[in-house]
Assembly symmetry: D2
Homo-oligomer: 130 residues x 4
Amino acid sequence: MQDYIFEIQLKVRDYELDLQGVVNNAVYQSYLEHARHEYLLSTGFSFAELTQQGIILMVSRIEMDFKNPLVSRDEFVVKIRTERQGVKMIFFQDIYRLEDNVLCLKAKVDAIAKVNNKLSRGEIFDTILQ
Amino acid sequence: MQDYIFEIQLKVRDYELDLQGVVNNAVYQSYLEHARHEYLLSTGFSFAELTQQGIILMVSRIEMDFKNPLVSRDEFVVKIRTERQGVKMIFFQDIYRLEDNVLCLKAKVDAIAKVNNKLSRGEIFDTILQ
Amino acid sequence: MQDYIFEIQLKVRDYELDLQGVVNNAVYQSYLEHARHEYLLSTGFSFAELTQQGIILMVSRIEMDFKNPLVSRDEFVVKIRTERQGVKMIFFQDIYRLEDNVLCLKAKVDAIAKVNNKLSRGEIFDTILQ
Amino acid sequence: MQDYIFEIQLKVRDYELDLQGVVNNAVYQSYLEHARHEYLLSTGFSFAELTQQGIILMVSRIEMDFKNPLVSRDEFVVKIRTERQGVKMIFFQDIYRLEDNVLCLKAKVDAIAKVNNKLSRGEIFDTILQ
């Protein structure tokens, strides 16, 4: 198994909590997106600029296992490893609570790219991975 | 395959769109949650009241296939069918654009229940399904 | 005082609640935006299409008085009246709980328009108001 | 005028952008809330714990002037100064873009506290300010 190639530390914000007092499930998906976009930036690519150039990066499928809920004041890290599969770039993204390194979320995110409205064969992903 | 047992019609709100001009991926998860809670209400149970009673309904896993993006002004329907599996209640949730009945999202959501902080064997789900 | 010229009925979604069990303050701002965009549509204009045409409608100032919190299951109505003031269009937006007509939020929203990146004198608003 | 007494640095996340490619107006309100809660923590108080103890801090009124939009990749700082006024604690909160120190948002937030469901005279705020 490939090692993690990128990570970002974040902190729970209270407006992300729901009436159960835990981070709402949908918010994790936002955390994952933000981590991927920061990873992109670290490779020299901006999601916003790619979009303006007509290179549309899209999530085609996502799987998330919710292991342990994050709560108010928790700090956490989103770790990423990647795999190229055909037209796809697969992001394996895991969220750990910083305090005790407990796994909170395990996710697999399939991304595809459209260029000028056509599904690309994933050349953009090869470029990013170099 | 069981038929859909519940559906709810909603409309895209512009604040749900991201810089690509489509509904942001994480927002679909919110749509799905809202549909499940409305389904619960239709069976006589309130998510908020269950939470207050110490019955914590949680999503343990989610799978989503993003088929076609929703955009500004789109109206759509979230359809639900359910299955009991061990301690879990499985929600199969599909989102269709109303205008042309195109499938936009296909999801499988595994829910579990904790009662007084212990994993329940899912009796609450049997009660709901009756 | 001018009468309300538009209203839209909505229902609280549980993911909009925060750890206090009430609709999070920021969510009201989203309700208000959605109501304004639906009002726009009712006059024949789409916020998304205007944006694509380079007509950027923006909020320059907002005032909100939080009177009574909305909670799970609440249905409510957002009512709008408008005034033209110089380059601005002022939206007075009030939110009432449907069940008992209690005032939940009172807001004043100042909107301006930029056309091709220049502040417009508000002609677009005059067109809308006709 | 009192000096700023607290500040927090944050970075725009792409999911906070709307179809105009700028941070959605409602998101600024979330930024402000997060900054206030972090300020609270810096004085030794947790919003979540106060809520559990029946001390409900609430926003009664908010005024926001949107000066310059934040966009993808922007880093910014939320600065806070406070004033006690009767039962209220007033937060003056300004957001500056870090790169060039441009003022992006100017806000005034009135907070009140309810203790056991009764409006407090603001003793909790005096305690925080000590």
